[in-house]
């Protein structure tokens, strides 16, 4: 399953739940409650809020734990043990990529920096979706560790606005299947 589609589904569900809460309250808004009923509704809403607080707290802790272990960014100050290493330098408005032919199934370490201004190094899969990215910042090297699982032509695009020709700052990576010549 495509990761972005999962995010989209979760987002629509979350926004839909918020909308449902509003629709419910709006449909009830025109019917004023008697004093006794209002007190009962108030007590119920306090209980419900406590339940929601607990549920959201557990959900937040669970997602934070699951999404941060292992930490999703590779160590930046230690060797990454990748079999393929690519040095990337962003310039206004070209990419200088040390190696553009790579292999599926073998980890690639991208060492990304910039010579002039900030750029965004994003790799688009053949189906047009972003698979990974980092910032290319002058004076710093950001390291990505990524293993391609599908052969094909991947497009590198700049995702940090870097001046008038920002849109044209693209290049390609050729990723060969295991056994093929890269």
């Amino acid at each position: 399953m495509i990761f972005q589609n999962v995010i989209w589904a979760i987002t629509l569900t979350g926004m839909g739940l918020v909308a449902l809460g509003f629709v419910y309250a709006i449909t009830q808004a025109g019917r004023p409650a008697e004093a006794a009923e209002a007190a009962r509704v108030n007590r119920r809403s306090i209980t419900l809020r406590r339940g929601l607080f607990l549920a959201l707290l557990l959900l937040g802790i669970g997602i934070a734990w699951a999404s941060l272990r292992p930490f999703p960014i590779p160590p930046q100050h230690a060797p990454l043990q990748a079999t393929q290493v690519v040095d990337v330098i962003g310039h206004q408005w070209t990419w200088d990529v040390s190696q553009t032919h790579l292999k599926v199934g073998e980890p690639v370490e991208f060492r990304v920096t910039a010579s002039d201004v900030n750029h965004g190094f994003a790799i688009y899969a053949p189906d047009g979706r972003i698979v990974t990215q980092t910032q290319a910042m002058p004076g710093f090297t950001n390291k990505i560790l990524y293993t391609f699982d599908t052969p094909g032509t991947y497009r590198i695009m700049c995702l940090e606005y870097c001046g008038v020709a920002h849109t044209g700052m693209t290049t390609e990576l050729e990723v060969a299947a295991a056994g093929d010549k890269p």
Partner: protein, 495 residues
Amino acid sequence: MSSLELYPLDERLPRGERVMFNLYMITALLLFVLMMLLGLTMRMTQAEWTPVLAGMFYKIMTMHGAGMVGTMSLASTAVMWFFLRKYVSLHLWAFVSNYVLFMLGALCIIWAVFIGNFASAWTFLYPLPVHSMGLWSSGAAAAFMIGYLLIGVGMLLFYLDAAAAIIRRYGNLGRGLGLQWLFGGTIDPTHPKAVVAGTMVIIANSLGILAGAVVLVMCLINLYDPEITLNALVVKNLIYWFGHMIINATIYMGVIAVYELLPRYTGKPYGISRPFLWSWAVSTVFVIIVFPHHLLMDYAEPRWMLVMGQIISYAAGFPVFLVTAYGVLTNIHRSGLRWKMPSMLAVLALFGWAAGIVPAIIDGTISVNRVMHNTQWVPGHFHFYLLLGVLPMILTLLYHVVGSRRRAPVNSGADRTGLFLYVVGGISFCMAFLYAGHVSVARRFAVHLPEWVPTDRVGSVAAMVLILGMLVFAVRIIVGLLKAPADADPSHPAG
């Protein structure tokens, strides 16, 4: 606790204050429409319906970003001033100074962009302002930054005056925020929500503006003495510390209108409570330290800051969902709410805020940000809570004031039609951005790939519908504000 009387006497504006309030809001409404038209031009360029060259596109993008953030700040500052002045003694000179400095700053920015060709986006990310590749001069970059400084100084003057007023009335800012009741004690039910929210904004946004001033001065020095180079990562941290807080402060200032006005239309008291005070206390901290979620793709950033960015992004949702949005839903539930323009806009505003932060919180997850950062997902979520959250908060107050001047809430067919267009256009516009983000359409691209164009066209049509609604609001409100108060007495100039 705020009054349930629809148009209380202590809210009436003496002549001088009315003129300033009108100036603020009419300026803001005109700027909102102009900035929306610039936004529409960008979407239509991406949709291949308007032939705008890349150079002009990025100038428009810079103006739209800076203009919208500035205008939101201007209008929401007027919201905060309108209610805060009922509880503490504010000086009109501070309110006037903020307006004058805003206008001077805006002129600098407009000159820098449209005459000086400055196009470094509203975030002026170092070192792009000094790497124009010949498109703009150091003078244009300096004019842009000085424009920001002027606007920041104006806001800071207003905040300092408001802080002094709160301290005079309550003893210190902590008591204004209600910290004395966090762990116990009997909460004063008359302690105004406007003071709690106003204090939070003063604390957080003053820090943000100071960070902005520091980074602007650093960049100005670098402009004229390139030998003094800056650390790009430190500069980026400071820019987002400033940028995140200044735009978030607009929500916290705008929401005061909802707190104050909605109970008057529901007829149900909306009292202050311990959860409410806790939510504003923790929000003060969260909004100050959450900014690293803008740097999740800067892997050189210390790891603890990235983790903090994610965790605090999640935590920031609690006060919004469980206190403010939930509190509003509880207040309207079984209330016999009178559906007038202000109450409809107030409910819309809370929906826009609460729904809009769902994709924002999700994008605050590092592994999600890795595939969503700098895609149209980002303008998708911030347009959602600005267009459908903050702007309706401001409109809530404006429609209420227009109603107060004729002593009857606004509820005409024309205004309701405007609201319908605004909501349908606004939701469609934002969802087109979010959909595009999830299929990896990049943001800030003057030219789009052919497969991206369909979502641009949906977004463009939706923007047109939204702007039609906004035009209705702007015309109706400006006419309403310019009308003299219904019960104006020449011997007692008030309104």
